[in-house]
Symmetry: C2
Subunit: 222 residues, 2 copies
């Protein structure tokens, strides 16, 4: 196997949970490309591939190394043009940048505040120390202080999904009749929440919850 | 001239201000298509083209009539495929629906609350009566009550533009190197605010303000 995806996990035996790594998992499945996933802990990342990147995902494809989920999606699109498209044209690629900017500025801060203590508790001790220090500096508060706002964040979460919900009145995926990378960008945030034990953020009858299930089905059916 | 765009204006002599009509103005200019704009008052709309649509924009193109800004953009793309593309592929068209859903759920409610009294005051007396009744029912408050929250809405406005601002770190337009209909969808909301006397919502050095100016330049240069 020459294709390796380095992703992120908690302590031994926990599922890979990084939203950015999930985007790449779905992009690879969308393209129908085999890969071996190698989940590592936070503090292992600097040791990967001679310190190639400070963050995962990192994709090794033969002798090529690429980091950053969006850059990997562009690489896959350019390298495997005969496989199903991740963007369906230049306009789809450009506009996916807006979807990414929206997800990172709207969904990710919310999921961070909902899940940060759960994530901490999933990690190995050495990763816990790194995670606490870096996230508390970023958030300007201790993890325990952030947790006090968790219920309010959960209550506010469905309203933040309004643009997806309203888009779904016109079509089943952001990509139209079938998912594109723009869908996987948003999917990553929901999967991140779910795999760190934060399920039930949406009512099961919410069209957004149904869209999430459709994305899962699409990529599982290959 | 066989191409007519019915749009919206206030009292005689005021500029057309509807965000949805501006999207179509820019789409037509983008395609390099001549048209005659016929701005009407709110209460004139039901009389247009034998009551074809309850809302503007309405485009008459020869013997074809189309309403709804997104439907008009799709019509123009399909009818004039040899002109510059408004979507740059199927993915761009589909993802523009997400941009529309975001703009309608995030920017439009904000601009409504900032501009609603200004808009009312621009209208002819008969349109003022219609506008007050329909908007007060929709907003659940009198126009005067809504105005009391105007300064707070203005203060909160730049933060609502964060997804555009962050996208602009990667590319000059939502459409990538040049604007697409997705840009015009967002542009419409800013132009609506500006033409109803609500300038200065963004710092002139804000990248989002610079993007707005670039959109204007692009379509003015044809």
């Amino acid at each position: 196997m020459s294709r390796i995806l380095y992703s992120l996990r908690g302590a031994d035996g926990t599922a890979p949970f990084s939203p950015h790594c999930w985007k790449v998992v779905l992009a690879l499945r969308h393209k129908g490309l085999d890969f071996e996933e190698r989940p590592v802990g936070f503090t292992d990342i600097p040791k990967l591939e001679n310190g190639f990147s400070k963050t995962v995902p990192i994709l090794r494809d033969g002798d090529r190394l690429i980091s950053d989920s969006f850059a990997i999606a562009i690489y896959l699109e350019q390298t495997y043009p005969d496989r199903p498209s991740l963007f369906s044209g230049e306009g789809g690629l450009a506009t996916a940048r807006f979807v990414e900017a929206w997800a990172l500025s709207t969904l990710h801060p919310a999921v961070t505040r909902i899940a940060v203590k759960h994530i901490h508790d999933m990690l190995s001790p050495v990763d816990q120390a790194y995670f606490r220090e870096s996230r508390e500096a970023r958030l300007g508060a201790t993890l325990e202080e952030v947790v006090t706002g968790r219920e309010a964040e959960i209550a506010a979460f469905p309203e933040k999904c309004t643009p997806i919900r309203n888009m779904l009145k016109f079509q089943p995926f952001i990509g139209g009749d079938r998912p594109l990378f723009a869908d996987y960008i948003v999917f990553g945030a929901f999967q991140w929440a779910a795999l760190t034990g934060n399920t039930g953020l949406l009512d099961p009858n919410d069209p957004v919850a149904n869209w999430f299930e459709r994305c899962l089905e699409f990529v599982e059916q290959g």
